[in-house]
């Protein structure tokens, strides 16, 4: 690890707030890394995961920017337009700022949850993006996404219930009527039947969209990460896995699944594993610069 410096920045005409972490001395020769806001959490990320990740990456020679999308954290609200479209423009502004500040013109975008979807949108359109780290993102769109989500959620819940079969505490709550299981059962009883969760993604009319085609054509490296506790792991399994393995160049796609980890990487040990895997992926050449990085 090398010494790092952090500088707050106000980005673009809308005045987004961000922090650039970079090596204290020397130029950043590697691609700039941009951490895209996760959900409504400000730039530190859920459980401070972005702050820790940015510092570790900077300590290995990368220039990183974590920032607040409009309306999140310290950034002003967007004055109009849809979230995804606005966020994509804001991300372009962040890339421009990082390019001006550090001299980088190639970027890896990293996003958790909704940040992964924003990163995917921007990467499909911006030729400066050479790599993507997408953590627990939905990554599919379509009219029937809500149906898919419900089915995926049911799969996630079944996995949780299987895990809790061996928990005396869970049995005590179930038998005493305090378990969330009963509430869910009551809620479901009043709803119309949902699609069965073992339907293939194609059954929902969802498949990798044009964003992935654009990325494949440009040779963008993608690292998909899913944690056991995220419903998007099941969305991936049901709607993306088979088709991506057919349509995306396999030498440019890496997929990792984390056992015993929740959606937002709450525990420090999970964050440490995440940082280690992202660094390993970056340094094995999956950052748009295939040689001379190790």
């Amino acid at each position: 690890m090398i010494a790092i410096a952090e500088t707050p920045v106000v980005i673009g005409p809308t005045g987004l707030t961000g922090i650039i972490s970079q090596p204290a001395q020397g130029r950043c020769a590697r691609p700039g890394i941009i951490l895209v806001s996760a959900g409504s959490t400000h730039r530190s990320g859920p459980n401070r995961v972005y702050t820790r990740l940015a510092r570790q990456l900077a300590g290995r020679g990368y220039c990183c920017c974590r920032f607040d999308l409009a309306g999140i954290g310290d950034s002003p609200a967007r004055t109009g337009g849809a979230f995804r479209e606005g966020a994509r423009h804001e991300l372009t502004g962040v890339m421009d700022t990082l390019a001006d500040t550090t001299g980088n013109d190639r970027f890896v975008l990293l996003g958790l949850c909704s940040g992964a979807d924003v990163a995917l949108d921007a990467a499909a359109e911006d030729p400066g993006v050479v790599g993507l780290v997408l953590i627990n993102g939905a990554l599919v769109t379509g009219d029937r996404f809500a149906e898919l989500y419900h089915a995926a959620e049911a799969r996630t819940l079944r996995r949780l219930y299987r895990k809790r079969l061996w928990s005396p505490y869970a049995w005590a709550r179930l038998l005493s009527g305090r378990s969330g299981f009963w509430r869910r059962l009551r809620t479901r009883a009043g709803e119309k039947p949902r699609p069965r969760s073992n339907r293939a993604g194609g059954g929902f009319g969802l498949r990798p969209d044009s964003r992935f085609h654009a990325l494949a054509a440009r040779g963008v490296d993608i690292f998909l990460l899913y944690s056991e506790g995220s419903v998007f792991r099941d969305v991936y399994a049901m709607a993306l896995k088979a088709s991506l393995s057919r349509s995306y160049p396999q030498n440019r796609l890496r997929v990792a699944t984390y056992k015993h980890v929740d959606h937002t990487f709450t525990l420090l040990s999970a964050q440490q594993r995440l940082a280690s895997d992202v660094l390993d992926w970056l340094e094995s050449g999956h950052d748009g610069q295939k040689e001379g990085l190790k």
């Binding site: 106000v10 459980n47 401070r48 949780l160 056991e228 980890v261 937002t264």
Partner: protein
């Protein structure tokens, strides 16, 4: 109201007690005074971040400059929670207060959220330069709060896929790492045991029906502080409570 604010935000790092702290300043022109936001700690830190931003907007619109900062080891400030104590965070509040005064304001109010309110009260009771305090859902007894954090963590773990390692067990509470003796240090902060009023004026913003907040108000009144209580509840009530804070500041 939002657009002019954007231009006036100044994020920067300042030197805190033992490391550099992230600060964001919203300046008001010819400010009547300054409001220092003392964040919550623990798992509710992120949840109250937006509240602080909205409160800053209201304060600046009313002519008050506002400074937000992260304690050492939290948010964007340097270090990890395992390295710092409650005493260090007191020094951080002092450094942030000094930073706010550097903008030219003479009157300083502290606004604390949750355990940040307890820290603000502790700091104010030792300093003589705090004109008033705003407590938002204050932690009144640090022992109770430390115990509730432990309970929340075990409840969360029982319903989660996450499985902690030995290291996680030792230092962590729901995503945030802390010193092993932090619970003990927190337990020593009990607002009902204050012997002097921490500030001449105090506004307590708490859920309607929060009996503890009413008891605290009574205690601070006995000590000679001018105390007001503002309830909050649903989203709409939160906005009203924020407006009430703006009015209270300008009284």
């Amino acid at each position: 109201m939002t657009a002019p604010l954007l231009k006036s935000i100044h994020p920067r790092f300042i030197q805190g007690g033992r490391c550099r702290l992230f600060t964001a300043l919203w300046s008001a022109r010819d400010a009547r005074g300054g409001v220092l936001l003392c964040n919550q700690i623990g798992p509710d830190y992120a949840a109250c971040y937006k509240t602080g931003r909205l409160l800053a907007a209201i304060a600046v619109a009313g002519g008050w400059s506002c400074l937000r900062f992260d304690y050492a080891g939290w948010g964007d400030s340097e270090g990890e929670g395992t390295e710092y104590s409650v005493g260090d965070w007191m020094d951080d509040i002092a450094a942030a207060c000094h930073q706010l005064k550097q903008t030219g304001v003479r009157k300083v109010y502290l606004c604390g959220f949750g355990f940040g309110a307890a820290l603000a009260a502790k700091y104010a009771s030792q300093a003589d330069d705090v004109s008033g305090l705003i407590f938002w859902d204050p932690v009144i007894d640090g022992r109770d709060y430390a115990a509730s954090l432990r309970q929340r963590r075990s409840r969360w773990l029982r319903g989660s896929f996450a499985r902690p390692s030995q290291n996680d067990r030792a230092v962590q509470s729901l995503g945030f790492v802390a010193r092993g003796d932090l619970a003990h240090q927190m337990g020593r902060i009990r607002l009902m045991e204050l012997k002097t009023p921490p500030a001449p004026r105090v506004l307590i913003v708490a859920g309607s029906g929060d009996g503890q907040a009413a008891l605290l108000a009574g205690r601070l009144s006995e000590l000679g502080a001018e105390v007001a209580i503002e309830p909050h509840g649903s989203d709409a009530r939160v906005v009203l409570a924020m407006r009430a804070i703006g009015d209270w500041l300008n009284q």
